[in-house]
């Protein structure tokens, strides 16, 4: 049929052949007939021929060569898929003669236009390497080239090739490290696993151990914090200490690249792919500082709901982890409870984990759980449970006796296996403290009549022999019985009988001499040579004859020496020297090709090797066009925000500015751009290559306008320095072009028009301002339009825009203000480089900043209602600012912050912190941004946008958001300039953790009624002399806490209400004045801690 002309017949024939191959039947005879069809036009026939060819080419090398030319032709095909598949098959044919052809093909494909073909080339590398390892050097070159590739499609495959061909060439990774970290989230899941595993190894060689300082610290501190860690942990700590005896080490600072890796892998814990989750988990386990490792526990516990094979592997790894870090899994104890439907191997592993997790506090729960397991029908599992109880008993002294008693009860179980296992475990336990338990031994001696399991019998005999002094009466009797049944016993029991006899002979020779003789005689003629040997040996040793030498004198010492108690320990101890999640770890044996996880280096290697020359990358970005994804990645965040805003407010303001307009257009064109944040970007698309020019235009439009609005985008976690640099470069470039556009408006009609429009708009505004400059409310209205526009620009840039606005407001108030300057100001909105310092109007512009901007109104927050009561606004003037960085410590840079009490628009759960940077130094400061945010769990921070340039003597303001989780824990972070880093921390007064809400009197009473009892705190106080009128009280209270006044019928009472920012729990405060200066303060709050702190603060405010 294969020779037929009809494709359908050929297909039918090929299907049959493939079915034969699938069943493992030999079809190699047909090789010549099949190979002819390699050039067949029909795609399916062709595919099946490929399948056949790959399978049999190795056996029929000569004939296989016939097909090579077809593939070579395929490699030149214009269709990328044909090129790829030709390469795939060509490289899969294991024929050594074609190695040079393959090499050539791979090299060519590695620089192919299509990422898909490049991916195939990456796949082909290990194939060629396994065929001919001598090509290694050339292949490494190809790998190096492909590693530099910026598409997510290629990254996973090339790292896989790297791992197979040259895992030792870690130096190849340096330049690509940051890129890999950033691409990681977009790589397909299988690639993620490989990359994460590789990066774990890489990080181990390049960064310092984040936990090394902790071990030093721990010495001094008391150990309550690490109380959950067990002794092993401390031992290990000690080991570490001895390894790195550097007591005066400078405080550990995590390498930003190390942090980058941890940050970028964390979201992958949410992957649906168990392998990815496991890879991240092991990465965290091996690389993260102790306090951060906890995050992986939840994800791992989640995997326990997956297929049983997945459970099996995960539990093995969890078992290893629990030995080192028990505390991590303690909250999830119940997830490891065993169900009767679990397969036995899972049950046993869960038991292992439960045992590892057992400590003084939870042991009773665990034992109770074990108790139910003992009655399971699955006897292997019951045996394992008994062993687990034994281990709990040895590890936790308090429950040893209880466990032992329980196990003794089990001795009367009807199931032999259970009894036998208990005996074995009891034996081990008794060895630890034999004196106390002679009655148990007696009890066990009785059992010899019933128990048939050899191991158990042997254990009992051994116990009796060992502790025959405790049971002097019973022991000989037991020996008598045993001697009777000696011939019918199992070998292991026989040996113990001999043992027992010997021991008894030594201690109690009067009663047992004859018995021993008898037993030894029986043993002498036993079938098993071990037993015969043992008998002979013992006879010589214990029975004194004239021949026996010095040894027999020491017989007693030999036999009755004190034996150390066995240590019952987890089989998973010490397994973690294998990389978790690896095959080697699972088998506890080194698998072929396993790469050892290196120890942390003593000193960090030079981090600068990871720096990438900016120019190169920029160029690359331009030339390949595909690399642009990384750049665009930067802006994803912006886009999302933009789009969100755009959808919220379909504002006509867009038309005001050409660049904005442009941006919007583009956005409409390519909606995917705007929210590609989590996914692989659009630039991978095949067509993007062609229109890279327009793409960069998009970029420029966006970059220009965004940078124009002065929002140096707050970098999200995924952005690396490398890309930042890139971005800056680009930005500058783009700014240049923007500038040109603006300066020569004739060139482009659009921009001309827009600048005209702009002018017009300005004029209009000017007029309106001039007209209404004195009236507060109207200027408000004006601000309205502005704030709206700033809103639509980007929420992030809002703060900046507001600063501008503020300035403008300040400037527009003096009536003599020249229009020129104003327009220049406007320019500055678009071009930072042209920014000229205004005559420092922003020394203390906080009030104007706080003046109820309409931006908040737009969001429809309840604050706008609260505004109705005039009392809330007045105390704003009392806003305190705190020092974040003193100018001496900051080498000229001083930073103050205050809680602006504005809702933080990107995230309503955050407290807005307004920071004011003043550069008191003589030189300019660049790149002000924050890094390394260290937070208590649950807290979050939205970083302020980077301040690119702060000239000497200038002041700038930025707003950041912090979610304090309703606690007064400080948020620690580093403030970085282009030269220095400063550790700073922001600690909120409790009053700033809330936002005002508007309640009516009735609502207030109702809510207060619900917050009685423990939630109510009241305190008597004497009011300060200056604060005896209502107005003063309101002012003081609102200054201390961000609450709003609640209208109240009585004039003796002032009421305030607010909600905590994060959890939204209600905070109510009442100040009731009495005669003279006496007053009573009542605070009702669900969160008692907050309530107490608030009482303290308000009290202070009122009495001072």
């Amino acid at each position: 049929m294969l020779d037929s002309n009809k494709d359908s017949l050929k297909l039918e024939a090929m299907k049959r052949i493939v079915a034969m191959i699938a069943r493992g039947k030999n079809a190699s005879d047909l090789f010549p007939a099949v190979v002819k069809n390699v050039a067949c036009k029909n795609i399916e026939v062709k595919k099946l021929v490929y399948v056949y060819l790959v399978r049999y080419a190795e056996e029929q090398q000569d004939l296989a060569l016939l097909s090579i030319s077809t593939f070579q032709r395929g490699l030149k095909d214009p269709n990328q898929l044909i090129r790829a598949s030709a390469l795939r098959v060509l490289s899969s044919i294991r024929v050594t003669i074609i190695v040079p052809i393959m090499m050539l093909a791979i090299k060519e494909a590695a620089s192919d236009m299509s990422p898909y073909v490049r991916k195939t080339a990456a796949h082909a590398i290990p194939k060629l390497y396994s065929l001919d390892p001598e090509q290694k050097d050339q292949l490494i070159e190809v790998i190096e080239k492909l590693l530099a590739d910026k598409t997510t499609l290629v990254a996973g495959s090339v790292v896989m090739a790297f791992e197979e061909v040259c895992p030792e060439r870690i130096d190849l990774i340096h330049k690509n490290y940051r890129k890999l970290c950033n691409l990681l989230i977009d790589v397909e899941e299988w690639g993620q696993v490989v990359i994460i595993n590789m990066l774990t190894r890489y990080a181990r060689t390049q960064f310092l151990n984040p936990n090394m300082n902790e071990s030093l610290l721990e010495e001094g501190n008391d150990k309550t914090f690490y109380g959950s860690d067990d002794d092993e942990d401390e031992e290990e700590e000690e080991e570490k200490k001895s390894e790195a005896p550097m007591p005066k080490r400078k405080p550990y600072v995590m390498d930003p690249d190390h942090r980058l890796l941890l940050r970028n892998t964390k979201p992958l814990l949410q992957s649906r792919n168990a392998a990815v989750v496991m890879a991240v988990a092991q990465l965290y386990f091996h690389l993260a500082p102790k306090v951060e490792v906890g995050v992986i526990a939840k994800a791992l516990v989640r995997l326990l709901r997956s297929h049983s094979e997945v459970q099996y592997v995960v539990l093995q790894n969890v078992a290893s982890m629990t030995i080192k870090r028990r505390g991590m899994f303690e909250p999830y104890l119940k997830s490891f409870y065993i169900r009767s439907t679990d397969p036995t191997q899972i049950k046993v592993l869960k038991l292992e984990v439960l045992t590892n997790l057992a400590n003084e506090t939870n042991i009773s729960t665990i034992l109770r759980e074990f108790q139910t397991y003992i009655k399971s029908m699955d006897k292997d599992f019951v045996a394992a449970t008994i062993q687990a109880i034994g281990r709990c008993a040895t590890n936790i002294g308090e429950v040893r006796d209880t466990c032992l008693n329980g196990l003794v009860q089990l001795l009367s179980n009807r199931d032999e296996l259970v009894v036998a296992e208990s005996v074995v475990v009891i034996k081990k336990l008794l060895q630890m403290q034999p004196e106390k338990h002679s009655d148990i031994i007696k009890h066990m001696a009785k059992l010899t009549d019933n128990i048939q399991v050899p191991m158990a019998r042997a254990s009992i005999l051994w116990l009796i022999g060992e502790y025959c002094e405790h049971v002097p009466k019973i022991a000989p009797d037991v020996l008598r019985k045993m001697a009777k049944s000696f011939t019918n016993e199992e070998d292991i029991v026989k040996l113990q009988i001999i043992n027992l006899a010997a021991k008894l002979y030594l201690t109690n020779s009067k009663q047992t001499k004859l018995l021993t003789q008898y037993v030894l005689n029986l043993a002498k003629y036993d079938q098993n040579y071990d037993i015969r040997d043992r008998a002979r040996f013992i006879r010589q040793l214990i029975v004194p004859t004239e021949k026996s030498g010095a040894l027999s004198k020491y017989a007693k010492k030999l036999f009755l020496a004190l034996k150390p108690a066995p240590v019952l320990e987890s089989p998973f101890k010490d397994r973690d020297h294998f990389q978790l999640g690896s095959l080697s770890h699972l088998l506890n044996a080194k698998a072929g090709g396993y790469q050892e996880l290196p120890d942390w280096p003593e000193a960090a290697p030079d981090p600068s090797v990871r720096n990438v020359e900016v120019k190169d990358s920029v160029q690359e970005v331009r030339t390949t066009g595909e690399g642009r994804i990384s750049l665009l990645g930067e802006w994803r965040e912006v886009f999302t925000l933009l789009e969100r805003v755009a959808t919220l407010t379909s504002v006509p303001e867009w038309t005001k500015c050409s660049s904005r307009e442009k941006r919007k257009e583009k956005k409409v064109e390519k909606p995917f751009y705007s929210d590609s944040e989590g996914e692989s970007g659009p630039t991978e698309s095949a067509d993007s290559e062609s229109d890279s020019a327009s793409g960069s235009e998009i970029g420029s439009g966006v970059v220009g306008s965004v940078s124009g609005t002065a929002s140096e985008e707050s970098e999200e976690g995924s952005e690396s320095e490398e890309e930042e640099e890139e971005e800056e470069e680009d930005e500058k470039d783009k700014k240049m072009t923007m500038k040109k556009e603006l300066k020569k408006p004739v060139q482009e009609s659009e921009s001309e028009q827009s600048s005209e429009e702009e002018e017009e708009r300005k004029h209009e505004r000017k007029k309106s301002k001039a007209r209404k400059s004195d009236s507060e409310s109207e200027s408000d209205e004006d601000e309205d339009s502005e704030s709206e526009s700033s809103q639509s620009e980007s929420e992030d840039s809002e703060s900046e825009a507001e600063v501008k606005k503020k300035k403008k407001a300040a400037q527009s108030k003096p009536p003599s203000k020249p229009v020129k300057k104003e327009s220049k100001k406007e320019m500055s909105l678009l071009d930072l480089d042209d920014f000229e310092p205004a005559p420092s109007p922003q020394v203390t512009p906080l009030n104007s900043f706080l003046s109820n901007s309409l931006a908040t109104d737009l969001e429809g927050l309840s604050l706008s209602d609260a505004v109705l009561s005039p009392a809330t606004l007045s105390p704003c003037s009392a806003l305190k600012s705190y020092e974040l960085l003193h100018r001496i410590r900051g080498e000229g840079l001083s930073v103050e912050y205050c809680f602006s009490r504005q809702p933080f628009s990107p995230d309503a759960n955050m407290v807005a912190v307004q920071m004011q940077f003043t550069n008191n130094a003589t030189s300019e400061t660049k790149n002000l941004h924050m890094e390394e945010v260290k937070l208590q769990s649950g807290m979050r921070v939205k970083e302020f946008p980077e301040i690119e340039l702060l000239p000497a003597g200038e002041t700038a303001t930025a707003v950041m958001g912090i979610d304090f989780c309703d606690s007064t824990q400080a948020a620690n972070f580093q403030l970085c300039t282009h030269t220095r880093k400063f550790f700073v921390s922001i600690q909120p007064p409790v009053g700033e953790l809330m936002r005002p809400v508007f309640l009516t009197e009735n609502e207030f009473k109702k809510e207060q009624g619900q917050l009685m009892g423990m939630n109510e705190l009241s305190e008597k106080l004497t009011l300060d002399a200056e604060c005896r009128n209502e107005h003063a009280i309101v002012q003081r209270v609102t200054a201390a806490a961000n609450l709003s006044r609640v209208p109240c019928g009585s004039d003796r009472e002032c009421r305030f209400a607010g909600r905590t920012v994060t959890s939204g729990s209600l905070v109510l405060a009442t100040v009731a004045t009495k005669e003279e200066a006496a007053a009573q303060l009542t605070v009702n709050c669900e969160k008692m801690v907050i309530g107490t702190m608030l009482v303290k603060d308000v009290l202070l405010a009122l009495t001072q």
């Binding site: 493992g24 592997v313 929210d675």
Partner: protein, 440 residues
Amino acid sequence: MIHSLFLINHSGDIFLEKHWKSVISHSVCDYFFEAKEKAVDPEDVPPVLQTPHHYLITVHRGKLFFLSVVQTEVPPLFVIEFLHRVADTFQDYFGECSESVIKDNVVTVYELLEEMLDNGFPLATESNVLKELIRPPTILRSVVNTLTGSSNVGDTLPTGQLSTIPWRRADVKYTNNEAYFDVIEEIDAILDKSGTTVFAEIQGVIEASVRLTGMPDLTLSFMNPRLLDDVSFHPCVRFKRWESERTLSFIPPDGNFTLMNYHVSSQNPVAIPVYVKQSISFFESGPCGRLDITIGPKQTMGKTVEALMVKIHMPKAVLSANLTATQGNYTYDLPNKVLVWDIGKLNPQKLPNLKGILSLQAGAPKPEDNPSLNIDLRIQQVAISGLKVSRLEMFGEKYKPFKGVKYVTKAGKFQFKCAALYEPFLLSFWTILFFYFTTF
């Protein structure tokens, strides 16, 4: 990475093999058969086995073993996860993943495997991409194929691998644009005899069936996302949007897929929809035992409990059951010793009851432990955790899709322990044991 794959059925026949590198002989599977012999239950075969030259990694799915051979270090989960993905793909293509189906479609299976792995490294595992490369068989097409001899391999070259979004195929067109989401929650619980919850949690999954034209960009938001404690997503979901806004934003794959899995935070108490009154006892004298079970509704959120089913794994000694059920019917599967009582709808007015005699094997010792009850149920139109989808928005396309959300609550691993004779959690651990062993 993955060297070879063998498909093995329950009786131990290798009925399909595929090698990605050089050929490995069948005999390597002997180590597996050895391990399988030892294990009582197929579930108990260790998933990873070591042989002198290879490592065998096996998964067990629907009475089949997928056995893969690896030679070098590889994360075991990587292989396991992949093998499950293969099985999922078969299921997706052929409707089920069984020996007969695979044998019938051996060529398609082979082609699939060829596409899914290249040199042992996963290549295309997204079903949307695979379906473009190899069309799934349908009855109509198989008829047409046999008549015309045309193939089930895609004629046009796929674009999937090259499109911007690897999981969605390009140029999707539908006349009816629909997006359906099923919120399915399962209650995993262990309850003791007195009905006290020992352990309870809710696992949820959102299954989506999206048939939308073009490149829609969907945003799904919840009324109460705080309920969700631990989530895992289909790769299409944008992590960052979830982190910042707690909404699911994604460009969906075409067709059916699992959008997310979640776990409801353990702080919220779990509503247990039914209660069980039961007594199972065996007598020392005479080969019999007595069984009496009543089920009633507890917290059902005002909905009816449907498809109620009770499964009891009886001790080995139980020979037969002679019971009467007031509702539904029961079967006793003798070889597996499983008693199944299929109740159906739970009527709160007339509680279903199952009562009768269990006869034991003559001479066999009385079973020590009473069996536990596994309960299966279903409640339509309610997600027991209270999770609600607030809205679904679509961007990027102009048409108006038809949207729908369905809620279902099911029992997952829902177990009533029947500890014998006493209330175990009132007495302390060892006194019970003592009591237990002295009574007999």
